[in-house]
């Protein structure tokens, strides 16, 4: 045996035999680049505090990942960029008003980063094994722990160096508390409301402010092939249908789907959060169900729930179902022979 092996040198390796240029770190950095337009829009509208908050999240995420892996004596994976991406997403999901020292709230991003990277990702086995989206768990933890600090929204100033800003309610907050009429009163008419929401000139989290900037990043990912259309389209589509049917006051089919689509974290969630490879189904038909579930749950929370915004909880709830969806929609294995089910055997 030994002799023949040496003579022939026949090497048999496990498939896949064709390797692509793509690596985990390349994908992570591409997604980070795709997030840049939305981040820059946030910086433009909320000033340097947006930069401080996001930088704090990125640095904390990278440091916690490095420290944890050092403590448990594992190889450092900071270089693959997943911790940086988590930090960037987490920072973009926080209000810029968190950068405040009286009352002191600047510790919130650091603790949220710890929850995201160590508890949600590393304790479950590291990248690829986490059940939930780390950035969203970090934000959910912060929102539930410091409900007041996490919902102080600054009025967009578009004056870059403004450090002080008036606080105001988000469009969804106004919609929830006072209804459509008040929303139109604040923003002028309907076209002006759409314009504010599209460009991002409105209160909200740092990264969710400009729908157009997020769309640019999302389309970049779509055309580079890093994400498929299934999740974003089914997410936005189902949410739009829900908003159209149930969003109106009184009568059915009188809601305004556009306001719901471009306000809040809907765009950011649909393009960047729900499409996370690890926590979404990998079968295409399953992705459609996953996205539709996210959209329907988001609208249920927005219209009937206690929170004005439901994207985060909707995606986290659907994250639990991702493995189940993958099992239900298992793709056909090439060359597999159909085996008799228990029912057929009984016959």
């Amino acid at each position: 045996m030994e002799a023949t092996k040496k003579e022939h040198q026949l090497l048999v390796s496990v498939s896949p035999h064709v390797k692509s240029e793509e690596t985990t770190s390349r994908i992570m950095w591409s997604v980070s680049i795709a997030l840049l337009p939305a981040f820059l829009a946030g910086v433009y509208f909320f000033g340097p505090r947006a930069v401080f908050i996001t930088a704090l999240c990125i640095i904390s995420c990278a440091v916690f990942e490095k420290l944890y892996l050092k403590i448990v004596d594992k190889q450092s994976t900071v270089g693959d960029g997943s911790a940086v991406l988590t930090g960037l997403l987490l920072g973009m999901n926080m209000p810029a008003s968190l950068w405040s020292f009286s009352p002191f709230t600047a510790h919130v991003p650091v603790i949220a980063s710890f929850i995201a990277v160590v508890i949600t990702k590393q304790l479950f086995g590291g990248l690829g094994f986490n059940v939930f989206n780390p950035a969203l768990i970090g934000r959910a933890f912060a929102l539930i722990s410091w409900p007041k600090a996490m919902t102080i929204w600054n009025e967009p100033t578009a004056a870059f160096m403004a450090m002080d800003a008036k606080t105001t309610a988000t469009p969804l907050g106004i919609l929830k508390e006072e209804g459509v009429a008040k929303l139109l009163e604040v923003f002028g008419d309907k076209m002006s409301l759409y314009q504010h929401l599209l460009t991002g000139n409105r209160a909200g989290s740092i990264g969710e402010t400009s729908a157009i900037a997020i769309l640019i990043g999302g389309l970049f990912l779509l055309f580079r092939g890093y994400i498929s259309w299934h999740i974003p389209v089914s997410f936005l589509g189902s949410a739009a249908v829900m908003a159209w049917i149930f969003g109106g006051k009184g009568a059915l089919f009188s809601g305004d789907p556009i306001v719901h689509l471009i306000s809040g974290g809907m765009m950011l969630g649909a393009w960047f959060m729900a499409t996370d490879y690890v926590t979404s189904p990998s079968v295409r038909r399953g992705q459609i169900l996953f996205g539709a579930g996210c959209g329907v749950l988001t609208m249920i929370i927005r219209l009937k729930g206690g929170f004005p915004e439901g994207v985060m909880f909707a995606i986290l709830i659907m994250n639990c179902f991702a493995p189940l969806i993958d099992r239900g929609f298992r793709s056909k294995v090439f060359g597999a022979v159909k085996t008799a089910t228990a029912k057929e055997i009984k016959k």
Binding site: T105, I144, P147, A149
Partner: protein, 218 residues
């Protein structure tokens, strides 16, 4: 059913329940009350004391009557004994610590269904004489009390920034550590799961370190 008292080391039996078979940290049993009542140190301590009392008394009672129990009906008899002692605990708590009882009363009644208490009655007390059975009950009860105290200490301190320390039977002293913004989620149910998970991991990590170092020294 032979008595094996001579072969059982009382100290080992006591420590078994506290460390090796800790109800919450090792067996992961009785998690419902351990999450529901532990957002306040005082409630946690009294819940632990109630379980300690029931566990010891049940073990003693079962051990005393073990020779007259018909094996076929042993489970109903265990349940009767357990529910009897739980009722005693309930009445005692309602009389002496009404403020705690009004918060954790529901979970005191649930002690009847604790798997750990029935398991000790079935596996240990019904096969051993009174003294080892009492030591076993003490061990399991103290282990539970220890776990609940640690969890509620951690949750109240982190979640509210206070510690409610029982100074008399029905009075408490509240120490305040943080006035501004504690981590609110830790006193909510979701934080209970987080706290139990984190402390369970810590307990087992310390245990494994200890086991390793004692293995080296031998």
């Amino acid at each position: 059913m032979s008595d094996t008292a001579s072969s059982i080391n009382l100290k080992d039996q006591l420590l078994n329940g506290i460390i090796k078979e800790n109800t919450i940290f090792k067996l992961a049993l009785s998690l419902c009350p351990s999450i529901a009542v532990t957002n306040n140190l005082k409630n946690g301590i009294f819940m632990g004391l109630a379980v300690l009392f029931v566990q010891v008394m049940v073990n003693i009672t079962i051990s005393l009557i073990r020779k007259v129990i018909q094996p076929k009906v042993r489970l109903p008899i265990f349940m009767l004994v357990i529910s009897g002692w739980v009722t005693v605990t309930q009445l005692l708590m309602a009389a002496f610590v009404p403020d705690v009882y009004s918060k954790v009363g529901l979970y005191i009644a649930l002690i009847v269904a604790f798997a750990s208490i029935l398991a000790r009655a079935e596996m240990f007390a019904s096969k051993n004489s009174v003294v080892p059975a009492m030591a076993d009950g003490m061990g399991m009860g103290i282990g539970f009390l220890f776990a609940l105290t640690v969890i509620s200490f951690f949750r109240e301190l982190v979640g509210k920034g206070t510690l409610t320390v029982p100074t008399g039977l029905s009075t408490a002293h509240i120490f305040t550590f943080i006035n501004t913004k504690p981590v609110l989620i830790m006193v909510l149910p979701a934080g209970g799961f987080l706290a139990v998970g984190i402390l369970m991991a810590l307990f087992n990590w310390i245990n494994s370190r200890y086991a390793k170092s004692s293995a080296h020294s031998h």
